[in-house]
């Protein structure tokens, strides 16, 4: 990696430890193969097997405070750990419990909630999914309509969430819901719901490359107890905002992107790609170098020059656009071969059960169109950066 020459001795030793761990304990079956790169959230079982290997060192919660079971790594070590995993093809660790709910419960949870929920996240007993978006509330998340009505000792939830990743796997869901009909600041609340509660239905959504990653989650008179609110009633927006912003330090995409570009380069050499193609590779290589550096210095080292303008927002825009460009190069290299990447049977678009069967490298191109949409669209990210800029340069 390009920063290796500048590492201090202790950090270089740590990097060696990470590499030894990956080489020694992540068996070949775990390491990403071709088809696994079709989307960032890969195979559920494989992702969890990887977490099992990280768990003894608490490297799956490396960024959590030590008092809550975190590994106590410093910012640079956390970066090296995540970078190398991505570079070597370790499965993408699902963030919903480990990176989103966990730290949010640490911040807003009662002692009882922390005691009940955090160990189950660390141990892998609970798998979470995110109930935020609705058909009427995407970029405008505050416009949620799913309503949790106070009835006596309980809240009763009615509504529908959409684009819910992993709802088909998860046993728990966190939701932003409306607890007051008026459109006031205190109208929203944050709730934690068991997926096996009576009244919950999960409906799969098939995307354009055939993958079932996303779902609708329907709530029909779903009852929860007041203890299932996270933070006070009416505080939902603040809790959600925190959750969406705490991704800092939890992700490193540089290694993963570098691995994907390396595969394009290998293929391009095998296929003797044109000089024009190599020019595109060179430009992307350079932009990826810049991204790796930005990700490290602003998000993980926090040189103090960064966050005023909205580091997490900038980084989201950059990695999502780079991953799309990598997929474009892969597609360009494939040429007419991509037309023959057909489902079974080969003379149909849909298979017997309505399935679409695209190979991973082609699916990736289509699936990663979501990268600039999900997690706050890149247009919204630009709005947020502008707002920060105004505040800083006032």
């Amino acid at each position: 990696m390009q920063f290796e020459s500048a590492l201090s001795d202790p950090d270089r030793l740590f990097l060696a430890e990470v590499r030894a761990f990956i080489d020694g304990e992540l068996d070949a079956a775990l390491i990403e193969a071709d088809d696994d790169q079709r989307a960032f959230f890969g195979d559920f079982a494989r992702s969890n097997r990887c977490v099992e290997k990280l768990r003894p060192r608490r490297w799956h919660v490396a960024h959590w405070p030590k008092a809550y079971g975190g590994a106590g790594l410093n910012a640079l070590q956390n970066y090296l750990l995540l970078y190398e995993q991505g570079l070597r093809g370790a499965p993408f660790v699902r963030p919903l419990g480990l990176n989103y709910v966990g730290p949010t419960v640490i911040k807003f949870g009662s002692e009882a909630q922390k005691a009940a929920l955090l160990p189950r996240i660390i141990n892998g007993d609970d798998h979470w999914c995110q109930g935020f978006s609705e058909t009427g509330a995407g970029s405008d998340l505050a416009n949620v309509a799913t309503f949790a009505e106070r009835r006596g000792d309980a809240y009763v939830i009615n509504g529908a969430k959409i684009w819910t990743t992993d709802a088909q796997h998860a046993n728990k869901i966190f939701c932003l819901v409306r607890t007051r009909r008026e459109n006031t600041k205190d109208a929203l609340s944050f709730v934690l719901v068991d997926m096996d509660s009576p009244g919950i239905t999960v409906a799969p959504i098939r995307l354009l490359a055939g993958d079932h990653e996303l779902n609708q989650v329907l709530f029909d008179d779903v009852e929860i107890a007041p203890e299932q609110l996270l933070g006070p009633e009416g505080d939902g927006w603040a809790v959600s905002k925190y959750l969406l912003e705490i991704e800092r330090g939890a992700f490193v995409f540089g290694g993963r992107l570098r691995r994907r570009l390396a595969r394009v380069i290998t293929a391009a050499k095998e296929q003797q790609a044109s000089s024009r193609f190599w020019d595109n590779v060179a430009r992307l290589d350079i932009d990826l170098m810049a991204y790796e550096c930005t990700e490290l210095r602003l998000e993980h080292l926090d040189n103090g020059r960064g966050d005023a303008l909205g580091t997490a927002n900038m980084i989201k825009i950059e990695w999502s656009e780079i991953v799309q460009r990598i997929d474009e190069l892969t597609l360009m290299l494939a040429g007419p071969r991509a037309l023959y990447a057909s489902p079974t049977p080969r003379d149909q678009v849909y298979g017997a059960n309505g399935e679409i069967d695209m190979p991973g490298w082609l699916a990736s191109y289509f699936n990663n169109r979501a990268a600039t949409i999900c997690g706050g669209s890149n247009e919204i990210q630009r709005n947020l950066i502008y707002r920060n800029l105004r505040r800083t340069w006032r």
Partner: protein, 384 residues
């Protein structure tokens, strides 16, 4: 430490920023250009007195022996001043060559005067119509009893018109050398030009120029490797200077958008323009990252070891500079097109920085070669 400015870097940045703002403003810049003043000798002497010329010169050569990143920080901080004094080219090229050359009477004399700010030195390397890095060296030298005779023609010699001495790259059968030549030498003809942003280049003709034996500079490394290091260093400093300028342009453009009103509101209230400004911020952040990466890798590995990172930094800075420079004019509207506005002057300086030291096309070629990407032009599709 990775990618972190030390307190010394920060102090130098602050000092250089104040030095520049105390001495430079746009109206004086335009007055000097209109009056045809080449450089302000007094300012150059002040820069020399501060020790900045000797930043990376070895201590036993009379310099400060500091890391290359300090030069990069200086270039960045001085960028917005639109200096016509040739700081970046002199320290990256003349300074590095003289420092790396082995001691000799001529070299020591020239280096001492250069460090004192009383002499400029220019590298005469490129040839051909385009004066670019790719052209072969046809300027030749003949060995005589007392020394050498130089014949040939160099183009786009940076600082050529200012120089008291040239360092000339010359070829002979199975030989290659760098020679120190006084610009007053008989047979040497210099045609000086001002670039559109106020800097100095020249075409130089050598018609049987006689020089002494000790005019040949000797190096521990092959001379062309040292020359290559100079070009890498120069590219790094140009990228650094452009970074300083785009940072200033961002701020200027934002401030203008907050002032300018049309359709009953500040133009900064239009979302399309907000997003444009944010895209300029993103581009600037990329350039910051690459310049930081390149400057610290240059410290770690030297200009040769950091060559790929430096080429990448110049590509990034060039791409960012084009976008931010162009869009700064765009967002200023017609005002940005006038000679009176500093925006246009910044665009001209950024554009010259893109061309000098190898443009993006050349840097990409260099990067591709250093990364060992194949050159398979025979597989290029027959396009329409």
């Amino acid at each position: 430490m990775i990618l972190v400015d030390t307190p010394e870097h920060d102090a130098l940045r602050v000092h250089a920023t104040r030095f520049a703002s105390d001495r430079y403003d746009l109206s004086q810049h335009r007055e000097r250009l209109e009056a045809g003043v080449p450089v302000i000798r007094q300012t150059w002497l002040e820069i020399a007195d501060l020790g900045w010329l000797g930043t990376t010169i070895d201590e036993n050569n009379g310099g400060l022996g500091l890391a290359y990143s300090f030069l990069s920080v200086l270039a960045e901080a001085l960028g917005p001043a639109l200096m016509n004094e040739p700081f970046t080219s002199q320290v990256a090229i003349a300074g590095h060559l003289l420092n790396q050359a082995q001691p000799s009477e001529p070299r020591n004399t020239v280096l001492d005067r250069w460090l004192a700010g009383t002499g400029f030195v220019a590298l005469a390397h490129h040839e051909g119509r385009r004066g670019s890095a790719g052209s072969a060296i046809a300027t030749t030298f003949e060995t005589t009893a007392s020394g050498f005779v130089l014949s040939g023609r160099k183009t786009a010699v940076i600082d050529g018109a200012l120089a008291d001495h040239l360092i000339v790259a010359v070829a002979a059968p199975n030989d290659f050398g760098l020679f120190l030549v006084a610009t007053g030498s008989s047979g040497l003809r210099i045609d000086g030009y001002r670039t559109f942003d106020g800097r100095h280049i020249a075409d130089v003709e050598f018609n049987g120029v006689r020089i002494r034996q000790d005019a040949r500079l000797l190096f521990a490394l092959p001379p062309m490797d040292v020359v290559d290091e100079c070009w890498s260093l120069y590219a790094l400093l140009l990228a650094s200077e452009s970074l300083g300028i785009v940072q200033a342009l961002l701020r200027l453009t934002h401030d203008y958008m907050m002032e300018r009103e049309q359709f009953g509101q500040k133009i900064a209230d239009f979302q399309a323009l907000q997003h444009r400004l944010v895209d300029m911020v993103l581009a600037t952040t990329r350039a910051e990252s690459m310049v930081e990466l390149a400057r610290y890798q240059c410290d770690e590995l030297g200009p040769a070891g950091a060559a790929a990172a430096i080429a990448a930094a110049k590509v990034t800075a060039g791409t960012t500079a084009a976008f931010v420079g162009q869009q700064s004019v765009q967002l200023h509207g017609a005002i940005g097109m006038t000679d009176e506005s500093i925006v246009g002057h910044y665009l001209k300086r950024l554009t010259a920085n893109e061309i000098l030291g190898g443009n993006t096309d050349e840097q990409l070629t260099r990067f591709t070669r250093l990364r060992e990407y194949p050159k398979n032009s025979e597989n290029d599709c027959a396009g329409n």
